[in-house]
């Protein structure tokens, strides 16, 4: 499998704190990849490393299976397009910004108008080509920044929280643009989002980040606390695990592994909590329940189960799961 990036022993320190710690990570090429995680999970730091706009404190990054140096060579730089969370457009028009990117990438003057047009077409921004950059709305600005990043046709496009601070209409527009970009042959799109559902819907692959570390655990039912004697204390609940990781600070429970019942079950499962049903939501042919047991749990059940249990909002219900369903990290 061809990889777009291979990260080995990457660490990023800020103010003497390790904010990113990735022993090994391979990001496949020609895929749409979502980096998922809460605010402060390290998504932007990781994207900065992938964009080579900041140098990791330790470790090496292979780009398309080739060694890299910091700053990146102009040939390798041309393979990456990067749009930060709060993109900055330089003074001038949208076209000026795109043409500047082409100029900085060393593209011949005669090819620039055609490439500018192609980029504007891809993000549906032709009508604003001559508009001053400082008069664009939030959504238009993000699309203009994407046009600038894709104008020189990089193999990899990195987007940091592309949907943040946008209204629903602009989010939908941008989702369609990302899908269109990801479908282009030979292109890799890597974007970060704190919206798990959005990430799962758009991406072929997802990478979960928690406290600067990648994890295969689902990010629903993610709790922080301390592990002692197989019991993880979140400060509000004690959850049984099978782990002996002494320095573990996080656990995650797969929502599909949680059993919902209207009364306490007598079973081999070690974790039973009663809580109040606070949300019932339809999600991709399943039903997601949110139950407040002191900590907020998410469980996924079938629509048939919802009917047979006859659940309504505000009901007190029981949730149970095995200690082996708890991922500790």
């Amino acid at each position: 499998m061809i990889s777009s990036y291979q990260l080995n022993n990457i660490k990023v320190h800020r103010n003497e704190q390790c904010v990113l710690d990735i022993p090994q990570l391979t990001l496949p090429a020609h895929k749409c990849i979502a980096l998922l995680g809460d605010n402060g999970a390290g998504k932007s730091t990781l994207l900065d490393v992938l964009a080579f706009t900041s140098q990791p404190s330790e470790g090496e990054v292979l780009l398309a299976d080739q060694k890299t140096a910091f700053p990146l060579s102009s040939r390798q730089r041309r393979t990456i397009g990067y749009v930060s969370q709060h993109p900055f457009l330089l003074s001038g028009t949208v076209t000026d910004n795109i043409q500047l990117a082409l100029k900085l990438q060393g593209i011949d003057r005669q090819h620039r108008p055609e490439l500018t047009q192609q980029a504007l077409n891809l993000v549906n921004l032709n009508h604003l080509a001559k508009q001053a950059a400082n008069t664009l709305s939030g959504g238009e600005l993000k699309r203009a920044a994407i046009a600038r990043a894709i104008a020189y046709q990089p193999d990899i496009l990195l987007l940091d929280e592309p949907f943040s601070h946008l209204d629903q209409n602009h989010i939908q527009q941008l989702e369609r643009i990302i899908e269109k970009l990801a479908q282009q042959p030979g292109k890799t799109v890597i974007f970060s989002t704190h919206n798990r559902l959005q990430g799962l819907a758009l991406a072929d692959t997802t990478i979960n980040l928690v406290a600067g570390k990648t994890t295969s655990a689902p990010l629903l039912n993610l709790f922080h606390g301390r592990l002692h004697d197989h019991i993880f204390d979140t400060g509000r609940l004690e959850i049984h695990t099978t782990s002996e990781l002494g320095n573990a600070r996080h656990i995650a429970i797969d929502p599909l592994e949680i059993i919902i019942s209207t009364h306490e079950l007598q079973s081999s499962m070690r974790n039973h909590f009663m809580g109040r049903l606070t949300l019932i939501a339809e999600e991709a042919n399943t039903v997601r329940l949110t139950i407040d047991c002191g900590e907020r749990f998410h469980a996924i059940i079938s629509p048939e189960s919802l009917l047979s249990l006859n659940l309504t909002l505000g009901d007190n219900i029981w949730l149970s799961f095995k200690s082996t369903a708890v991922t500790v990290f």
Binding site: A51, T53, P71, S74, R77, R78, I80, Y82, S84, H86, P87, F88, L90, S91, L100, A101, K103, L104, Q105, G106, N134, R148, A149, Y152
Partner: protein, 230 residues
């Protein structure tokens, strides 16, 4: 009071009748200050942008040094350069003393810290996303420099104008290194000092009016640039 009003009217007449002696002095002043400003700018702007971009040990010390040099009395610069350029000094064989070149050197040294400090402020007060954006778009060190100058051009122009204003109004170093030689190194400020001491108050006043006019134009340009979007 009559003396002052009569002198003022006579000075106005000298200015409005385009007295050749006066405009010769003005031309010397402007050309020396302009060349000094251009030389200082060509060094201070790259130095200021480089310093603003990078973090290194000793940066704080350089910043303090620049602040100190900004407040350095002009006669001290004149004195040091006089020592270097006088016949017995290490650069005496260059024969620069009492030449416009010596005055340009002195004024360039005088305004270099002002321009560099203002350039540092211009770059550090620009949008913090500017440099990362340019780097992510593939800017090499040269194109990065050009684009930073372009994006902060109004603030950098203001730095150049401020430096020029300081140079044209300077008297101490100009007097010590230029020697106030008529038609050669006589500038507006040195002429005002000399003519007033000689009792030619009208000529001094006429030059003062022109100096004020230049100061007004400089300030007008500065405030216009500050209003412009950077």
């Amino acid at each position: 009071m009559t003396y002052f009003i009569d002198s003022l009217l006579a000075a106005m007449a000298l200015v409005t009748h385009f007295d050749s002696d006066i405009y010769q002095i003005v031309a010397t002043s402007v050309s020396i200050s302009l060349i000094a400003a251009l030389i200082a700018a060509s060094l201070a702007i790259p130095a200021g942008i480089t310093m603003a971009q990078h973090q290194f040990s000793g940066k704080q010390f350089i910043q303090h040094l620049l602040n100190t040099l900004m407040a350095m009395p002009t006669v001290v610069i004149g004195l040091l350069l006089y020592g270097l350029f006088s016949r017995l000094g290490p650069l005496g064989n260059l024969g620069l003393l009492y030449t416009p070149t010596a005055m340009v050197i002195a004024e360039a040294i005088l305004i270099f810290p002002i321009m560099m400090n203002l350039t540092i402020t211009a770059v550090t007060s620009a949008d913090p996303r500017l440099i990362p954006t340019l780097l992510s778009l593939g800017a090499n060190p040269y194109s990065l420099f050009i684009q930073i100058v372009k994006q902060t051009r109004f603030a950098i122009l203001a730095a150049i104008i401020t430096g020029f204003g300081r140079a044209i109004g300077e008297v101490g170093a100009a007097m010590m290194l230029g020697g106030n030689i008529e038609g050669f190194t006589r500038t507006m400020t040195t002429a005002i000092a000399l003519e007033t001491s000689k009792g030619d108050f009208e000529l001094g006043l006429a030059l003062g009016i022109l100096l004020l006019l230049i100061a007004f134009i400089i300030n007008f340009l500065l405030s216009w640039l500050q209003r412009s979007p950077s």
